[in-house]
């Protein structure tokens, strides 16, 4: 049988590797050592907030999950949001109840497939999701889509509100990776979200809100 492209490529690579490198990098410093030499990250919540604000994000501190609705409702009102969508995440049920009670927003739920609910998802103003935490150094929220909170919930609506628990703040991406949480689970999709979608493709001029959300809000609990 003729070897496949795969076999030919791998054979070539194995042979090619035998050729010795002309230059061998003598650097022995590890990334961890290098990171230890960097300026202090400081208080994680403060740093996270500062980094988010630097990219136009809006971070509100909330004392507890119970206090969440009192912050979120007026906040969404000020954003001019008329409709809100969540998934089936149980921790958001009290917030949903309060939103329904208020009668101020049309309330949607992402509970069937994107094929069935596509029009609804793309028409909604605001998606609310939880998160796996955040990275302080770069102000990045760790969003992991699940059946309870699918991918489009944090992508299609013009406003994305993410909820981050303060106890789950990591100093750097390296520190987060070191926890092994991702490696143990390898979810089908895992996104670090750092601010609203944006571009500088025309004359290097920053425009916020291209294909993803135009507004990114973070409620930091604890």
């Amino acid at each position: 049988m003729k070897p496949t492209a795969r076999e030919r490529i791998l054979t070539r690579l194995r042979q090619a590797r035998a050729v010795e490198a002309v230059y061998v990098n003598p650097v022995r410093e590890t990334d961890k050592e290098w990171l230890a030499r960097q300026p202090e990250i400081g208080d994680l919540a403060e740093r996270f907030t500062r980094e988010q604000e630097a990219v136009g994000g809006d971070v509100r501190r909330v004392t507890s999950w119970e206090a969440l609705p009192d912050t979120v409702l007026p906040w969404l009102g000020r954003q001019g949001v008329a409709s809100v969508m969540t998934g089936t995440e149980p921790r958001l049920e009290p917030l949903r109840a309060r939103i329904a009670e208020s009668g101020r927003f049309a309330l949607h739920r992402y509970e069937r497939s994107a094929e069935e609910q596509g029009d609804e998802i793309f028409a909604v103003d605001c998606g609310i999701t939880t998160s796996r935490g955040a990275i302080a150094e770069t102000g990045s929220v760790i969003v992991v889509p699940t059946p309870e909170e699918p991918r489009l919930l944090s992508l299609a609506p013009a406003v994305h509100l993410a909820i981050v628990e303060r106890a789950r703040l990591y100093a750097t991406l390296s520190e987060y990776i070191e926890t092994g949480a991702y490696q143990a689970e390898v979810p089908s999709n895992h996104v670090l979200v750092s601010g609203a979608s944006r571009t500088a493709d025309i004359e290097m001029t920053l425009v916020v809100g291209v294909h993803g959300p135009k507004v990114f809000l973070v409620a930091l609990i604890g």
């Binding site: 492209a5 490529i9 791998l10 070539r12 690579l13 194995r14 042979q15 090619a16 590797r17 050729v19 010795e20 490198a21 002309v22 230059y23 061998v24 990098n25 650097v27 410093e29 590890t30 990334d31 290098w34 030499r37 960097q38 992402y110 509970e111 497939s113 994107a114 609910q117 770069t138 102000g139 889509p145 699918p150 489009l152 992508l155 750097t172 991406l173 390296s174 990776i177 991702y182 490696q183 390898v186 089908s188 999709n189 895992h190 996104v191 670090l192 750092s194 979608s197 944006r198 571009t199 500088a200 493709d201 025309i202 004359e203 290097m204 001029t205 425009v207 291209v210 294909h211 993803g212």
Partner: protein, 475 residues
């Protein structure tokens, strides 16, 4: 895109005479360089980080075949279909087969330089499939019927006025040169397309062997759309993109975004590992990865040129390059432009067709300084130049097209140079002769012509340095 020496000469000359282009480029390059420098100056010893990046790439490349196999196994286990392509023609064929099987008419694309290597849009169009670019810069360039002029900022050569004209003409919308309004327009047009498309195609920034993860770096959200909404996602990756561990990604990412756009991180760092799983409500039903060789394994087989494969496509070398920042990307007439293009193109296309690009450098070394993974671009350029004009020395791998750039005239000049410098008597006679001729050396004919076309020819002094020194000693 087949590079062509004569065309390069003509187009770079034209670019230099184009004041609008010079203005657009100068402004953009100044901004982007400033942002990059700002980000690096915040670090304690950014230079050390660059060497760490280099070490990671070296370590990954040293295990390239194993890592690719590991990546394949991990992805396959999770239901991602992995394909291998030796050539761009093979890769195109694989995409077409998938598209045909799924009855795809419209494809939406995230940014991918590998797809430019494949000239995929053109290929698909030939088979009745429309491929639409979703990254704003790529969208603009595609509307204009051009190819990207920069690997990170594809439409950097155009002003907002030109883009406004283009949108007005091609999209039939009322004229506006407000950048926010132009962006909003693209958002509106493309939103419908994401939902109508049967396939999404992206590149890959990092592939992690340990976990079987494809990582995409972007700001606009088009990458997330393209990998979420259409029922099929095809990820195109150059085989050098694989790293061993997730931990390797953190420093490379830190280097990439700082070097590319001067950001500490992009808006989205998107990790993908499988098609939609049971119970999940969105995401593609099918995910494919195409691992492309297209000359990379040959580059890998040279212990020196191998370092070309360290590149993480940040574009920093373009931004700093005195040649790129004056002629722009399109003059190169190749997929990759600027310093990385000057080392990559001659190796991919062969020295016969691409060798001239290695000559388009002042060897100032600025690219080496900013390169986040410390590719010794000037050394590689010298090597390519040498092999472009000389038969390859014994014991070295023969590069495609080696010796193709050998010019008889040039070779004679250097032979003459050697004779003169080997024989003191001949040297003295020659310099004396030049001194006597002085300003009477003809400027418009012979070897002086191409030099004197754009600059004044230096006039040899009447007395040589040797004579002056002798005189001095005599006094």
């Amino acid at each position: 895109m087949v590079p062509d020496a004569r065309k390069f000469k003509r187009d770079s000359g034209r670019a230099l005479q184009d004041p609008a282009l010079r203005h657009n480029l100068q402004k953009a390059m100044h901004t982007i360089r400033g942002r990059r420098n700002e980000r690096f100056s915040e670090l304690n010893d950014g230079a050390a980080l660059q060497w760490i990046g280099n070490a990671i790439k070296q370590r990954s490349l040293a295990r390239l075949p194993e890592l690719l196999e590991q990546l394949e196994a991990k992805l396959t286990a999770r239901g991602v279909q992995v394909h291998w392509a030796e050539t761009t023609a093979e890769a195109n064929r694989i995409v077409l087969d998938i598209a045909r099987r799924r009855g795809v008419k419209l494809v939406v694309k995230g940014k991918s330089m590998v797809s430019e290597e494949m000239e995929l849009n053109h290929f698909l169009a030939g088979h009745g499939i429309e491929a639409l670019e979703a990254d704003l810069g790529e969208f603009i360039v595609q509307l204009a019927g051009q190819t990207p002029s920069h690997i990170v900022v594809p439409a950097v050569h155009m002003s907002k006025g030109e883009i406004a004209e283009l949108f007005h003409r091609e999209l039939g919308e009322p004229y506006t040169d407000d950048v926010a309004a132009l962006t909003a327009l693209a958002r509106r047009v493309l939103r419908e397309k994401f939902r109508a498309a049967g396939m999404g195609i992206t590149g890959v920034n990092f592939a992690v062997a340990e976990t079987g993860t494809l990582a995409l770096v972007e700001n606009e959200g088009n990458g997330r759309m393209v990998t979420t909404v259409p029922p099929v996602h095809v990820a195109l990756m150059g085989m050098e993109k694989v790293v061993a561990n997730l931990a390797d990604v953190a420093p490379l990412m830190r280097l990439l975004t700082r070097s590319a756009t001067g950001q500490t991180i992009t808006a989205y760092f998107n990790w993908l590992s499988s098609p939609r799983r049971s119970g999940e409500r969105d995401g593609p039903e099918e995910v494919h990865t195409i691992i492309l060789d297209n000359g990379r394994s040959a580059i890998y087989g040279d212990g020196e040129l191998r370092e070309t494969l360290d590149c993480i496509r940040c574009g920093a070398c373009l931004n700093i390059c005195p040649v790129y920042s004056r002629i722009g990307g399109q003059a190169y007439g190749s997929v990759y432009m600027g310093p990385i293009g000057k080392i990559l193109t001659p190796q991919m296309a062969g020295l016969g067709e691409g060798g001239h690009l290695a000559g388009a450098s002042t060897l100032c070394g600025a690219c080496y300084e900013v390169c986040p993974v410390k590719i010794p671009i000037p050394n590689l350029l010298l090597r390519l130049r040498q092999e472009g004009s000389q038969p390859t020395p014994a014991g070295r791998t023969l590069l495609k097209g080696a010796g193709a750039g050998r010019a008889v005239g040039e070779a004679m000049v250097w032979r003459g140079w050697r004779v003169l410098h080997d024989r003191p008597a001949a040297y003295r006679v020659f310099t004396r002769l030049l001194g006597m001729l002085g300003a009477r050396i003809p400027q418009r004919i012979g070897p002086a012509r191409s030099w004197s076309r754009a600059r004044a020819l230096p006039i040899p002094a009447r007395t040589t340095l040797h004579e002056l020194l002798r005189e001095r000693a005599g006094q």
